[in-house]
Symmetry: D2
Subunit: 346 residues, 4 copies
């Protein structure tokens, strides 16, 4: 759902020749509905439009059209105000919804799932299943995903607080979300709701399950967000206050060595190394590193990290996350792979 | 009218402390109406918001509100679909409308006036005055204005044809007209209707008056237009086929020496030299030269020209025009000054 | 030779797992010599540094070091002033040099080869072989390659003249060739020697062989060149004056259907369709289309064309060429494949 | 000295028609020496080249040429490695040197002077005068100047620490310092020595004089610096940990109300309000706000501040400083005005 936007395009690209999923329908707003997919937008996510999708007719995003296609799983790249009722309805119809929209992230029984970080949170979808035949699993905000990927392996050192400052690319505002005159050769020190999302979502994702509920983490996160004239990839400067002094090389080691459930399960979209520490003095850079990740199917799924520095008890570092892939479509697909392997999809 | 857009802002900037005109009202769409001007937009045309306008309340663009302010002259930076009926109505109410909108450019009795180029075309507004108490004078398309400024002084050499290729800045698409993802580090080889406007408007502007009608010029113009990631200023490569071989220095001399009616009349917004020929091998450049023009009030009113080259009978050159000033608000104001001096405004 | 620059990187990328060529040595200036290839530069041409090259030690560009590696073929991405003597010397030592440098392009017995366009020009290297054991084959200037690819199939309609105006990306100036302050949000209407190269090289490439000499084509080419803030890909507006009126669809057909020797021979780096005509009203665009070309190995080898328009006897169109691939490394490699298939390399 | 670079150009621009200083000589490297100033570079700092400088012949930066012009004051925009011996020599010859170079910033008897912040530090130049007939006064690094301007008025609330993350424009790297391919549509998370300069210089500037020595401030500053594709203006996100909770409005009030010695003395280049707090949710922005400062002569001398937010005991805010004006030439000139008024220049 929402196949013509940048995240929708990434979904189509990443679902191409997928070993577990088969594309049965594409939906979009009424403006593009009825067109062949290849004519519904300018393909802007690299390579060619996948053959399987090129000639598919785009449906309008209405539940009844979707249900006629009898999907088991729906990936949602809808704007939030649309997503809320549609995703809820689809769930009630026994569909498993993996959503990039923010509308259900705060439902008590809906996890914000990043399979490397909080695979145990999947547990709470059972509460949805006790009520509905389907469920909704959400994705975090794009910046949050990069941040928690780096915080998780450092929890062993004891994190007192984290200060994060972002350099977010224009693709994060969507295909038509940001006027060129506002950002050309400029920086905008404001992204609506973004700082709150980072601060709040990271607490839920890093929270622990207790009595079938997610108890949010209480490490204070202080976020400041800017839009920068870059096409893809959110760079972030992070200052992490630790409970004790830790050497840079131990931080680097903890990050490089990090693996999660998707790596152990060898899920198709899991990058072999989810965190890549770069030694060059001037990396990561969006243009050079945004597509990090291996194997091929996991391009854009690795978070790159550089310039790890120790300042008293603070660890400073830069990280780069592909906002449309690891920060959106890619993690949604990885979550679906994970759920499938967990036999939660009948 | 239309005071919050980029051209509207230029109007306000250029009308500040104007020796002939006093600002009595500002209008915009209902979104900004009711706000103080300083809160109605991000001021993006340099310097500070003029004191006189800062605290003015913006009116909604409706004729009745405007008429209550009893203006003599209205400058219009409305989108064309809105401009057509409003400008016509205002004229019927005895108002003198100077418009940057394209809606009336093709009316038989409405000139596309550039006072340096076709001051004699003002004549035809008398036909409007025979019917209405006011009249409409239009401005050309922004690219056209740069082109004809350069073609006019070369007519003496006999022009067979002209081929023009543009590098047009994003401000030409308006404050919110172009999504950042489309143009960031990119070129778009298409601007809707622009090539036709250049080809057709330049013929009307360079036409001659015969029996009170404008007989369009018949020199073929071949235009190709691109949008480029530049904030302000349209650069254009022009190849002019002449009837005979002319030396580069004679072309340069004809251009540099050019003066028109506004210069002779010393109109407030007239640049001393409307055409500035640069000798550097790599100029004009938008960032360095877009504000050319002297005195202070005429900043952005001069067209800069460089790299004049002779190839067989062709003269190649680059020109740069400030699309929001010479190509829009500035020429409108210059036309009003010219009309005022001609005693056509009672 | 010259492996750390952008064109050198493209050579390495395109020679990875090449079915005909094996990489035996990499050279660069003394600044990088002695380092492992992966440490010698920031890899900036997409994907990862090929495994085979990553750990190779970079040699300094000196003939004696090169000869010790006993290469049969040398690909040269040297700056011209260095290339002249080194390439000549290597030829004298029986090496087959495929060069992107301009230094030998005007030698009488050296072709500027684009295998789709002038495969018959290869003939003249025999004159080099009568004197030396090796030979030099050159590549055209990056913009020229795009232009002649489009002119060649239109020769059947009779070309009277062509006017070309370029939008050239910053990568064309090399990795460190252009200061950011000069081009950020700006256009520079000057590229040293570029217009002359386009005008002159296209005549040689489109020339015919007569008595073992290349007789240059005499169609006048009028070029105007600008640098634009785009990373990769040179967009060009071309106006082609034909001897007769030709319908747009026939022009489109002639371009789409074009195939040359590399396509017939199914050379590894040959794109199936060297010219791709796009029907969208706003294409080709550098960001979206620069990597056109199929199969995978031929990415960036296809020239995309759009907005074909008829104006009197002129055909207007836009074309986009990947300046580092089709305009440089890719055509060099294609030429080597072609020469190999022609059994000219012992 | 160093008149062709961007900071040198700003010096020339700001010294135009200066009420206290008269320009007697311009120097640059041998590349430009001997040329008229107007031909020695592309003027890139707005407006026209001042008439007084246009036709001046540029001298090579050698002390003997300079001394022949008998200047009382020398403004230095030299690169540091050149500045060290030349500035020292000029001082020994009785010249008062105001330098933007970093070479003497750490001399015990040389202040890093920002007249609004540490006017009392001027005191220590007397130690130079006890030895030499002239003295050297330095300027801080461009980012540092913005940071300390904001920290100073907040000292009353007790500052525990500050974390600063920068978005620095390409002009900070000089006219030719940064290749376009590295920064186009990209971010570089590294600026050589910048973080150390910010952390160290701010401590000296905010230090107190004790027994004729500067005792550095001991508030820990944690800096992370990035280069962004913006032409002018360094934006910075600052998180300031205070000793107690302070309301946002009180922070805003303290900043807005701040005045220093230059304001009291009404120095020509002093902005009326050195700190401007903006209320809009998305400001300051480099393109819109970099030239803040009033009156005309003080354009670019005001630091703009926005998005002041309270998070526990932290105050978050964004600030924007014109790196070439307040961060370089402007503060140098302001210092000279201040010194002159203090009667320290005979």
């Amino acid at each position: 759902m929402g196949c013509t936007g940048l995240i929708g395009q990434q979904f189509v690209r990443m679902l191409n020749n997928h070993p577990c999923f088969e594309l049965v329908a594409l939906t979009s707003s009424s403006r593009s509905a009825g067109k062949k997919y290849k004519q519904a937008m300018n393909w802007a996510v690299g390579g060619d439009i996948p053959e399987m999708a090129k000639e598919m007719e785009v449906l309008e995003t209405r539940p009844k059209y979707l249900l006629q296609c009898e999907p088991k799983i729906v990936f949602s790249a809808l704007p939030s105000f649309l997503a809320e009722p549609i995703e809820r309805f689809l769930r009630s119809q026994g569909i498993f919804v993996f959503s990039n929209a923010s509308s259900h992230r705060w439902d008590e029984d809906v996890p914000i799932l990043i399979p490397e970080i909080n695979p145990d949170h999947l547990e709470i979808v059972r509460q949805q299943l006790s009520r509905d035949k389907g469920f909704i699993v959400t994705n975090s905000n794009c910046s949050t995903s990069g941040l928690v990927m780096v915080l998780k392996p450092l929890e062993r050192f004891g994190i007192r607080s984290a200060t994060v400052t972002t350099y977010q690319s224009i693709s994060g505002a969507g295909r038509r979300g940001l006027p060129a005159m506002e950002i050309e050769a400029n920086i905008i020190p404001f992204i609506k709701d973004e700082e709150q999302k980072i601060e709040r979502e990271s607490k839920k994702i890093l929270g622990r399950i207790e009595k079938k509920k997610i108890i949010p983490n209480d490490v204070p996160i202080n976020a400041s967000c800017c839009r920068v004239p870059v096409r893809e990839g959110h760079l972030m400067s992070v200052v992490i206050e630790l409970k004790e002094n830790v050497e840079v090389r131990n931080v680097a080691k903890a990050l490089s060595a990090f693996k999660g459930a998707p790596q152990e399960m060898r899920l198709p979209t899991a990058p072999e190394c989810p965190l890549i520490v770069m030694n060059e003095e001037d990396r990561p850079q969006p243009v050079l590193d945004v597509h990090a990740g291996w194997p091929e199917r996991a391009r854009g799924m690795a978070v790159t990290i550089g310039r790890i520095r120790e300042k008293a008890r603070n660890i400073n570092l830069f990280l780069l996350v592909h906002n449309l892939v690891r920060g959106a479509a890619g993690t949604c697909i990885l979550s679906a792979e994970f759920v499938l392997r967990k036999n939660l999809i009948g």
